[in-house]
């Protein structure tokens, strides 16, 4: 027994010794003398990427990683939503919005040393358009299908052809007019990959397995993701880390002002664990700060909290196919009856702001002078009485269970507060609920609810991605058929002059908020945390956030 005790004592001592020789910062920048770009940044993410091929992903963590290694023809200004040159220096959209001509940046090479040119661009567009059958499944290429309507042989396909007019000019021909395509091309899903690498590493190899699920089988997206971006793929240890190194031959070194030489993404699923990893020096930054941790981070001088501008909207949907919601007076009364500010203050942990239209203010086309509906229950009553209703007016109102969305962290809390407002004023509410997917979403889409809670997170910087998605065509969820609204949005979408387009969308927003098809009530921000010595990170509403402009100070 004594020997046994000695063993356990030795074990304990060994553990303590090991513990005590800790203390060195495991992620400290390696000192190799090159002060320009040798810093190491370990960034905590919420999950591992799925695959590093932009055409095949729809999850945020894959997109974040792909953004560092690949570039598109156009991109967005850091931290904003304005479309700026990427691999294309300039572009021209024809009068009929069916031909896009891109002038390409010269002297760009892919990470494998091959040249970037017009042929490489067209190779990528042709690749997407001609995806083999397994890749056409929605779970494989959802974004391409959403933006381009379909693949070769599909009459709805927006893409017609791409021609390398000369070495540095690529001409994109569409089958019908679209002006919103430019904004969509800034999506990470449409970044340009090395044609040599795509072919060599079997990017188009994939199968549908026994569960009918798409599965890429080549190694392009797992071991050889080769683009033109400021960082190059180094190693991906699934579930543990994704390591990227600075591209020494990056064409746009002038704009890549940061000093990160090694960039590592570490998946840490738990929010509290991400915070502790930051506090203990294991990581230098992380995304998706839990709202309850905002104060901790802001109150500590070693750390900084950045806020990603809102790029979403939470709204109360109103289905005009269900009476009395077809009456604009009722819709107005509802808007005046609910205290949106109280909901935002109560359930958004300081991250929310009251929404006054169906898109965030960071987008072009946002109008400052739409009709606003202040909280005024008396006015609501008055409107209803003037319209000849006897109070209380009956409505049904639904909310989703088992779900939390950035724009709606706690649907039930929102719902209860809104219902209380309505009942206190002048409505009798019949409440309904269902699980988020597929029941609730299905019921909304098929027009089964009168009032309902819903929201939207945008994914590209175009008003069409917000109000166009909602109101450009008749949808059972909204239950109306209004040519003024549909026409306005259709005209705006196809207008090729960007300034005119912005004015047109502003006008659509004014029309919409008078027509009041629903009540937008909140936009929410997302928090990011960094150590205090990190500089230059530019939170972007659409999470297009380059690490190449980030500096880690000593």
């Amino acid at each position: 027994m004594r020997g046994y005790l000695r063993l356990s004592a030795a074990l304990l001592v060994a553990m303590l010794v090991l513990a005590a020789c800790g203390g060195d910062d495991p992620a400290a920048p390696t000192d190799n003398g090159d002060a320009a770009a040798d810093a190491t940044m370990v960034f905590g993410t919420s999950a591992d990427p799925v695959v590093l091929d932009g055409a095949l992903v729809s999850d945020g963590e894959s997109l974040r990683a792909i953004d560092q290694m690949f570039e598109g023809l156009v991109t967005l200004e850091p931290g904003g939503t304005e479309v700026v040159p990427g691999l294309a220096t300039e572009w021209e959209i024809s009068e009929d919005a069916m031909t896009y001509t891109f002038t390409l940046q010269e002297g760009v090479t892919f990470h494998d040393g091959t040249d970037f040119n017009a042929e490489a661009v067209c190779f990528n567009f042709d690749r997407w358009y001609n995806f083999p059958k397994p890749f056409q499944q929605a779970d494989a290429s959802y974004y391409y299908q959403t933006v381009f309507g379909g693949f070769k042989g599909n009459p709805d396909a927006l893409y017609d052809s791409c021609e390398a007019t000369d070495e540095h000019t690529a001409t994109l021909q569409l089958t019908r007019p679209s002006a919103s395509l430019l904004g969509a091309l800034a999506l990470t899903n449409f970044t340009i990959a090395s044609p040599t690498a795509l072919e060599e590493f079997g990017a188009d190899e994939g199968k549908i397995n026994a569960d009918s699920l798409f599965q890429p089988t080549g190694t392009f997206g797992t071991e050889h993701p080769i683009g033109t971006g400021p960082f190059m793929f180094e190693e991906w240890n699934r579930g543990e880390s994704l390591t990227m190194t600075r591209n020494p031959d990056y064409w746009n070194a002038e704009d890549a002002t940061g000093n990160i030489g090694t960039l590592i993404f570490r998946p840490i699923a738990d929010g509290a664990a991400r915070l502790q990893a930051l506090q203990s020096g294991d990581i230098q930054g992380y995304d998706l700060v839990d709202p309850q941790d905002f104060e901790t981070i802001e109150g500590d001088e070693n750390f900084q909290l950045l806020r990603r501008p809102a790029f979403n909207v939470a709204y109360i949907g109103m289905n005009q196919a269900i009476e009395p919601l077809d009456d604009v007076a009722v819709r107005q009364a509802i808007a005046h009856a609910v205290d949106r500010q109280a909901v935002v203050d109560g359930f958004y942990a300081g991250l929310g702001e009251v929404a006054h239209q169906f898109m965030p203010s960071s987008l072009p086309g946002y109008a400052d002078d739409v009709t606003q509906y202040e909280y005024d229950p008396d006015k609501a009553k008055q409107i209803l009485e003037d319209a000849g209703y006897t109070l209380p007016v009956k409505v049904d109102f639904a909310f989703p269970t088992d779900v939390s969305r950035p724009y709606m962290p706690d649907p039930q809390a929102n719902f209860e507060a809104l219902v209380a407002d309505l009942e206190e004023c002048c409505f009798e509410v019949e409440t309904k609920s269902a699980t988020w997917s597929p029941d609730y979403l299905g019921n909304v889409d098929t027009g089964k609810y009168g009032l309902y809670l819903l929201g939207w997170t945008g994914d590209y910087a175009d008003p069409d991605n917000f109000i166009g998605t909602f109101f450009q065509t008749a949808q059972p969820a909204w239950g109306f058929d209004n040519d003024e609204v549909f026409g306005c949005l259709k005209d705006a979408e196809t207008e090729s002059d960007l300034d005119t387009r912005e004015t047109m969308y502003q006008e659509c927003n004014r029309i919409l908020m008078d027509f009041l098809p629903g009540i937008p009530y909140a936009h929410t921000e997302v928090g990011l945390a960094f150590t205090a010595n990190v500089e230059g990170y530019a939170p972007s509403p659409v999470t297009l956030e380059p690490f190449s402009i980030v500096t880690v100070n000593e």
């Binding site: 729809s58 502790q276 294991d282």
Partner: protein
């Protein structure tokens, strides 16, 4: 003996069959489906419905279960919707991480639990005994999740002695012939890797090992007390045998039988405790895999992962039963 082991292994088949059905139904009872993981946030209800139809999730449950069994019979556990990898590959890639952590936790629990329980019994109703009782009560009642966060707060955040996440400093270049990082470091003579991976093991092992530690200490104490009051111990003392020999040969060995049972059970349970511990320590093992699978409604991974845990648990119990024969020659299996 061999016949007994074979019979027990054969018994695994009906157990797994029943379990697969329960797990299959359980994961489908979760609200929601895998559609959002596949299509992303912006998917419309119609898209979600289409994809779920495409995956055959709209078919009657018996049909789905039949297909699942058919694939299972051919060794195909399906494909993960969130990583697009075969489930069997995911499980085998992550198993070493969980197993390594479980071993470290059990070394901690057994290495401290048995001596603690033994000393407590020897000092029955003394200060040490009472202290160990209180400690083990706290040990079993403290939630793993909370303990893990607390340990990290003290040793990683405040003192900075130990890392708070992961299996190894990712800047250390280590080859992975086995994916057991401690073993890998030794095999490749990477001493920096060895120190670092051991350092990464300490906190999660303590967090995960605390409940088994407390239980092992309590059972050891109770069993030792029983044995201490046996006649043969009194006889041994009376004939003037060296007390340390009495302790080792007569008391501890005879007290081990219930302790081994508990160790076996706890090792099985440890694998499930790993879900919480791994999540808090971002430990890339089966626990984080299963948690993510719950988050994304990744049916195939959930089913495969739970079945895998179940097999381990059953095997662990078998090992315990077999070890009885060695500890107590009076036990014979036929």
């Amino acid at each position: 003996m061999l016949g007994y082991v074979l019979r027990r292994l054969l018994l695994l088949i009906p157990i797994l069959f029943g379990l697969s059905l329960i797990v299959f139904l359980f994961v489908r009872a979760l609200p929601g489906g895998p559609g959002i993981a596949l299509l992303g946030e912006r998917a419309t209800a119609q898209d979600l419905q289409e994809i779920e139809e495409n995956l055959g999730l709209d078919e009657p449950l018996p049909v789905q279960y039949g297909r699942y069994l058919k694939n299972l019979a051919t060794g195909d556990l399906g494909t993960s919707v969130s990583t697009r990898r075969p489930v069997s590959e995911e499980l085998s890639r992550r198993f070493p991480a969980t197993f390594e952590l479980a071993i470290a936790a059990m070394i901690f629990a057994i290495g401290l639990g048995i001596p603690l329980g033994y000393i407590a019994a020897k000092r029955y109703q003394g200060v040490l005994d009472n202290a160990s009782l209180v400690m083990s009560l706290i040990g079993v009642s403290i939630p793993v999740f909370f303990l893990a966060l607390l340990l990290k707060y003290v040793f990683a955040v405040k003192l900075g002695w130990l890392p708070s996440i992961g299996r190894i400093n990712i800047l250390i270049d280590l080859d992975h012939p086995t994916n057991f990082y401690v073993l890998d470091s030794i095999l490749t003579a990477n001493w920096e890797g060895l120190t670092d991976s051991l350092k990464h093991l300490i906190l999660p092992a303590i967090a995960l090992g605390t409940i088994p530690l407390a239980i092992i200490a309590r059972i050891t104490r109770a069993a030792t007390l029983d044995v201490l009051s046996e006649d043969y111990v009194r006889t041994a003392r009376a004939k003037g045998l060296d007390p340390s020999i009495i302790g080792r040969r007569h008391v501890l060995k005879n007290a081990m039988l219930p302790v081994v049972t508990v160790i076996g059970l706890q090792t099985g349970l440890l694998l499930t405790g790993a879900i919480l511990t791994e999540t808090v320590f971002a430990w890339p093992g089966l626990g984080t895999l299963i948690l993510n699978a719950i988050r994304f409604r990744d049916y195939a991974v959930l089913q495969g992962g739970i079945l895998f845990f179940a097999v381990l648990f059953v095997l662990m119990n078998l090992l315990v039963d077999i070890s009885y024969a060695f500890l107590n020659p009076r036990i014979r299996y036929r």
